[in-house]
């Protein structure tokens, strides 16, 4: 049980090298070894989605992923969303639309929404629901989260338009 494996992983743009037991989950590795405690653990069996992180841009459950599985990969966690100390538009949208109460599930929602909106900048209502279908929030009843996602999509589209205008 104690034989350790060496892994190298890029997390939020920083390379980390570590020795981990093969049974260590990615969630425990991020939280316990790297002190990236923004990723939360809600059920440890892949249902609630609180522990969602981005693995090469795809949303994965860090409670069902082993740390050794991400050797050589690139990850983004909630700590990687801010840019220059400013909230990411998705984070800002959740604040403005009261898309959270206790905030424990929120990092998982943010990462899931990130995957959705970078693949599909203008999702339909059904596409938003489908993306969020695997995330559980016990506080909000989801309505304010749906409003947050719509606002986040608008913010990102506007930022994109503004960016294009600047470059042209």
């Amino acid at each position: 049980m104690t034989a350790q494996q060496k892994i190298s992983v890029m997390i939020n743009g920083t390379m980390h090298e570590a020795h981990v037991e093969p049974r260590t989950t990615l969630a425990d590795f991020l939280r316990g070894e790297l002190a990236l405690t923004g990723t939360h653990v809600g059920c440890e069996h892949g249902v609630c989605g609180a522990c969602t992180v981005l693995l090469e841009g795809r949303a994965v459950r860090s409670c069902l992923t082993l740390a050794v599985q991400v050797d050589g990969a690139s990850l983004t966690t909630v700590e990687g969303l801010e840019e220059d100390g400013k909230l990411h538009p998705i984070q800002q949208a959740f604040v403005e639309e009261h898309g959270l109460q206790c905030g424990f599930c929120t990092p998982g929602f943010l990462m899931t929404v990130h995957e959705l909106l970078y693949e599909n900048p203008d999702p339909s209502e059904d596409e938003i629901r489908e993306a969020l279908g695997g995330q559980i929030c016990r506080c909000t009843g989801y309505q304010s989260i749906l409003r947050s996602v719509r606002l986040a999509a608008a913010k990102l589209r506007n930022a994109h338009v503004a960016g294009s205008t600047q470059h042209s």
Binding site: V95, C102, Q135, T140
Partner: protein, 808 residues
């Protein structure tokens, strides 16, 4: 001059308040959306160990032996504890009703699946879990008591032998001439209902770091705890420590809903840190532990309800018989959920007499804990079903039947049969607004048209009361009395003019730090950036209870505004000294201390505070030079409980009307909510955005209760719902979008007229959904009387209704 707490926003010393009453962004959120909030599992202390708990795999068995030798030998294991340690260092858990508790680690026998038997502290959680697998426990099976009716029969196996019975409490409360009312009734309706176990399930489970100090024999607990003071007092009692030797540091937590639990696990963790010589020990409950052995199970109820009704539609009597299956002990304080219905027993209706026949029974299941609403949600659900049964029989529209029975708006404050007093309301206005919002006439046309097409569609119009701002007298009938629920806050201004608000409760999700910030910002006419809210530990906080019983918004408002008022008087006195005037001639206005009626004589508040702290030579001789004040708020006018359990308990009574249309698929039993309209009156809305959040979130939990959530035990007492694959929480697919409206009748009894609103729609939604299901089923002559009305149950009902009974 005594401290005046503003009754309205106009009473603030501010000519242009900017914050209170508006849906301002929450001060909590930037930390939460960046993952920086310090939840308990983020905390690491030097030398910290990690705990794992070995739990009983069987419901009822004698423990023949426990062998911990192999576990102790595993490298990395520092301490192992069993019932020997529990008996040496602790007392049985405190309970409601009293003396229905056992030690935190099972000794001679186990009484439910998930009961802690032994525990390990090790260098990490993985090693700790390896170690508990090495503990060998020899069990001798006993017959499990799972059915509460059988549990009451003579000769039933006993959950706690020393008690000589499984009946924890049996009492009949009679309010008025109930037999007379039923004798005089034109019609009497009786029905049985079953509400199955469900519970809180916050996304964050419970967690604690316990650290024993072997020198002064004290214990520090950092925990995701809802009511730190109450929690600390309980732990001191269990661990045999003076109350001032248990220090609780509450951490922000990921929801609670009354069911955070954690008491027993904390006591086990306290034994571990003591056995480990004082090294801190962290225990983070995992989800399986929460579901099978945590604070997440509530309300396991068997009802028989009768309603006395006159032909003109007046309800003249209510008779409720409740058998509640409390589980193995009273340690979860779940029994208080059987007492709270007294605060709103007859709902929003002027039903003059009522009876409550209450029995609480022990079985080999997890002890019940509180959950959002604390007992009335099932009570309201069965009362509303009876209202519909009566209305249907009398052929009166359900909305009009309720209107006939509403407490009239000119009769508040109104004392209900079970003794509580409702503060204010205009129930007809709420009903009318809800019917208009739902376009009720059109809605009925749509239903009738759908029925004509052969679809199974139903509508409900239900109403319920949300009792707000509890006091412990509300639970006196089950043996909780005298603990008190004060709420304190300290408001302090520093030499730079910046303000701190110090409270005794941690963040939980309702936006209470935002509320404190709104109040202080408007009181002193400063910005949000000038204010910080901090949570103190139980050794330094003012007396505090924290969230619970829909109380904190009101209680915190009273505490903060009281402290602001005291500070205002203090600052006026100092400024008067500087102005060489009498204190009565000086007051706080728009953030400045001004001389009344003397133009130009004024000083900014920050300058007065700076003088207090920096220039003692300028202070009047009898001034306390601390620019801070503390106020502890308690609800006014609460009364002792009389011989029939009656008291003025909850201070406020919010009211709501929900109108729901839904469709049942007869082929699958699945329910789809087509329309959901809610209008509620919770008095003044201090932050409408957070109130809306409470409403939407509680509707979701109500949907879960009505349709999905259920803890299932088999006949051996084995739990079958130990993961989120089996215990179904509502997802974005099940929770409907809602149309919402509001009515505001300010409470005459509270600061700013706010009413408790945190439990919200949990009081109404299960009733609304079950009623709509029953309207959908009515044409086929079927009636759903079990909650959750899950697809299997509805499918079975529909099938039975469609197939004529044998022999017909």
């Amino acid at each position: 001059m005594s401290v005046q707490i503003p009754k309205t926003l106009e009473d603030f010393p501010n000519s242009a308040p900017r914050w209170v009453g508006r849906g301002v962004p929450r001060v909590e959120d930037p930390h939460l959306v960046t993952g920086r909030t310090e939840f308990i599992d983020n905390v690491v202390l030097p030398g910290m160990l990690h705990a794992a708990i070995l739990r009983s795999p069987v419901a009822h068995a004698r423990i023949v032996s426990i062998d911990i030798n192999e576990a102790e030998k595993l490298p990395g294991v520092i301490a192992v504890v069993t019932s020997d340690d529990a008996r040496r260092w602790s007392h049985p858990e405190p309970t409601v009703p009293e003396e229905w508790g056992t030690h935190c680690l099972a000794g001679d026998k186990v009484r439910y699946v998930g009961e802690p038997v032994a525990a390990v502290a090790a260098v990490n959680r993985y090693v700790a879990e390896d170690a508990i697998e090495l503990i060998a426990v020899d069990y001798e099976s006993l017959e499990a008591v799972v059915d509460p009716v059988k549990a009451m029969e003579p000769g039933s196996p006993l959950v706690i032998e020393e008690k000589g019975t499984n009946v924890m409490l049996q009492r009949v409360f009679t309010w008025g001439n109930v037999d007379g009312a039923f004798g005089d009734a034109d019609r009497v309706f009786t029905e049985k209902f079953r509400w199955h176990r469900l519970g809180a399930n916050p996304l964050e489970t419970f967690g604690v770091i316990a650290q024993w100090d072997p020198v002064d024999e004290s214990l520090t607990l950092r925990a995701s705890v809802q009511s730190a003071t109450h929690f600390g007092l309980g732990r001191a009692a269990v661990l045999g420590l003076p109350s001032n030797k248990v220090r609780v540091i509450a951490h922000p937590h990921g929801g609670s809903f009354g069911g955070k639990g954690g008491t027993r696990g904390t006591d086990v963790t306290a034994l571990l840190t003591r056995k480990a010589g004082g090294r801190p020990v962290k225990w983070i409950e995992d989800r399986a532990e929460y579901l099978t052995g945590g604070g997440g199970q509530a309300w396991d109820r068997h009802y028989e309800v009768s309603l006395a009704v006159k032909n003109d539609g007046r309800v003249t009597g209510l008779d409720v018989k409740l058998l509640d299956d409390m589980g193995a002990t009273g340690e979860g304080f779940g029994a208080i959920s059987t007492a709270k219905p007294l605060a709103s027993f007859t709902g929003p209706y002027a039903i003059p007499v009522a009876r409550y026949d209450l029995t609480i029974v022990a079985t080999n299941k997890l002890p019940q804990s509180p959950y959002r609403g604390m007992g009335p949600p099932p009570h309201n659900c069965v009362l509303e079903q009876m209202m519909d049964i009566a209305a249907r029989d009398l052929d009166i529209d359900p909305a009009e039947f309720r209107r006939t029975n509403f407490i009239p708006k000119d009769s508040f404050p109104y004392t209900i049969a079970s003794g509580n007093e409702y503060d204010s309301g205009d129930y007809e206005a709420v009903l009318d607004k809800a019917l208009a919002l739902a376009d009720y006439g059109k809605l009925r046309e749509r239903r009738d048209q759908a029925r004509a097409e052969g679809r199974c569609v139903g509508i409900s119009v239900v109403s319920a009361i949300e009792p707000g701002v509890f006091d412990w007298n509300a639970y006196a009938i089950v043996g909780v009395q005298g603990t008190g629920v004060p709420e304190g806050a300290t408001v302090s201004i520093d030499i730079m003019g910046k303000i701190s608000v110090r409270v005794g409760f941690a963040l939980e999700g309702q936006g209470q730090y935002t509320l404190a910030t709104q109040l202080v910002a408007d009181y002193f006419n400063v910005g949000f950036e000038d204010i910080t809210v901090v949570c103190l530990d139980t050794h330094s906080a003012p007396p505090a209870f924290g969230p619970g019983g829909s109380r904190l918004g009101v209680a915190l408002t009273g505490a903060v505004l009281g402290a602001c008022g005291k500070l205002r008087l203090k600052l006026a006195k100092v400024a008067a000294g500087l102005f060489q005037m009498d204190p009565e001639q000086v007051d706080l206005v728009d953030g400045k201390l001004v001389a009344k009626g003397v133009a130009g004589v004024e000083m900014p508040m920050a300058q007065v505070v700076g003088t207090m702290l920096a220039r003692s030579d300028l202070l009047p001789p009898d001034v306390d030079p601390r620019p801070e004040a503390t106020h502890v708020w308690t609800a006014p006018g609460r009364t002792e409980v009389d011989e029939e359990g009656r008291a003025k308990s909850y201070l406020t009574a919010a009211q709501a009307v929900h109108v729901v249309m839904l469709e049942v698929d007869p082929e699958t039993g699945l329910v789809e909510i087509l329309e959901y309209c809610v209008v509620d009156d919770c008095g003044t809305r201090l932050n409408p955005a957070t109130v809306e959040g409470q409403t939407e979130g509680s509707i979701a939990q109500g949907v879960g209760a009505a349709l999905l959530e259920e803890y299932v035990y088999d006949e051996q007492g084995q739990i079958l719902t130990s993961s989120f694959m089996d215990y179904l929480l509502p997802t974005v697919y099940e929770v409907p979008a809602t149309k919402k409206g509001i009515v505001v009748t300010p409470s005459p009894f509270t600061p700013l007229g706010a009413k408790g609103c945190g439990e919200g729609a949990m009081h109404t939604t299960p009733a609304a959904i079950l009623s709509a299901i029953n309207d959908a089923l009515a044409p086929m002559g079927a009636r759903a009387t079990e909650v959750p009305a899950s697809p299997n149950r509805l499918w079975t009902l529909i099938r039975a209704a469609q197939q004529p009974a044998a022999g017909e």
